[in-house]
Symmetry: C2
Subunit: 255 residues, 2 copies
């Protein structure tokens, strides 16, 4: 099944983060990659690894996390289609967090050697990849604020809004509804809350009419209200103005 087109995904990710001329676009599309299916909960790279490739998510949801001595795990980022969670290993020899998938996933492995050749030959492509890692950093900054300052319901609402917005940017949401396959345990690890409290907070959010979450689908019926509730502004995602509107065509392919 050629449903997962790595070249197209990479090209669209790059074009969302900068401008490519035809020559650069060709070079990008020529980048070789190995497509791999990954079972749920499997790890892609582990703390301490010195990988020789980077990974693009083509399908499924991944995360960056660290596990403390007491066994508790903190998720510091979620990764969706077209994200490259370990792009940083191109310049940081040894990995400092675990990267794994929370759901069954399909990923593309890209050799660092190929990536470096591409960057050397096309500096503007390198700049765009750099920019992509800067957006990732902006998201981490938000997460620090989220976990440090917001109360439970706001935290979860903010996370939902971030995911909805990012999924919309890659055509997996219409801004109101999306597939959302994470468990309450996943949510608890991403928000720094206990699973019990996540459960109760979800119920409260449902009671307020701010969210619907069932059978792996998330709906935000009152976008305006929940954004205000969570103090969410998409600015930190640094999406180009066009991408917010350009999701008309096949945007509703939710899975």
């Amino acid at each position: 099944m050629p449903r997962h087109d790595f070249s197209a995904s990479l090209a669209s990710k790059l074009e969302r983060n900068g401008e490519l001329d035809p020559v650069e676009l060709d070079a990008v599309k020529g980048l070789p990659a190995r497509i791999v299916e990954v079972a749920a909960d499997q790890s892609l790279v582990r703390e301490g690894d010195r990988p020789t490739h980077s990974t693009m998510i083509l399908h499924g949801v991944g995360c960056t996390s660290r596990t403390l001595a007491n066994g508790r795990r903190q998720i510091s980022a979620l990764h969706v289609k077209e994200d490259i969670p370990d792009l940083l290993s191109l310049h940081l020899a040894v990995i400092d967090s675990d990267v794994s998938v929370l759901t069954p996933a399909v990923v593309a492995l890209i050799d660092h050697a190929d990536l470096r050749r591409l960057c050397d030959a096309h500096p503007r492509v390198a700049d765009i990849l750099w920019r992509i890692t800067l957006v990732d950093a902006a998201i981490y900054r938000q997460w620090v604020t989220n976990v440090g300052q917001r109360h439970a319901e706001q935290r979860i609402a903010h996370l939902f809004l971030e995911m909805m917005t990012r999924l919309e940017a890659v055509g997996l949401s219409d801004g109101r509804r999306c597939a959302f396959p994470l468990t309450q345990t996943d949510l608890s690890e991403a928000t720094g809350l206990s699973t019990v409290h996540v459960n109760r907070s979800l119920q409260s959010l449902r009671g307020r009419g701010l969210i619907e979450l069932e059978r792996g689908f998330l709906t935000l019926p009152m976008r305006r209200e929940i954004e205000q509730f969570a103090e969410f502004s998409s600015a930190y995602l640094h999406l180009p103005a066009r991408s917010r509107a350009a999701t008309g065509g096949d945007a509703l392919v939710l899975v």
Copy 2:
């Protein structure tokens, strides 16, 4: 007073993150900058700005922060000598967090135009700058874990260890003692705790003999123990092996 040598600072920052040949080093040292003194609590760039320059801290402590509607502020990163807190504005047009200084400071302003020229002419310099932003991101990831999973005393201890280690890398600490001019309010904003609880946690840490903090100086008398207590490992700072040992000479210039 020529105490703050921008060129030397930039060169040393870059050389800690990669290798420069003599030509590259010359180009780096030729980068123009404007030195500015900044009063405590003054902001360098604000959320929403579209700056045309980036800033290197030469003296003092800065921070990246966001302020929520309720007035509470979360600090998501601290910046010390040789850090370039808004390097990201080179590729991210609009700033998503405030950057300010917590103490009186001296900074160098570098025009993006000059920085771009340098990167275009010397791709390896660009790669090193990229790497620097990736280390910043690694620190954000740690902070998510810190704020999300550790209890109050561990959080503060972890922050102290990070600062001690980073200051050692730039010659402002011997790994045991450093100038530490932050107030308990600053600490509370960096850890997501209340000032009252920071105060009591500090007392407890003092009681355990893990820290001494007085008159703006921080001492960690039992490095091994406090690292274990806070589950700190410096790996995420991605310091080169050499820099840990190479701080012999003038390392004890604490201010």
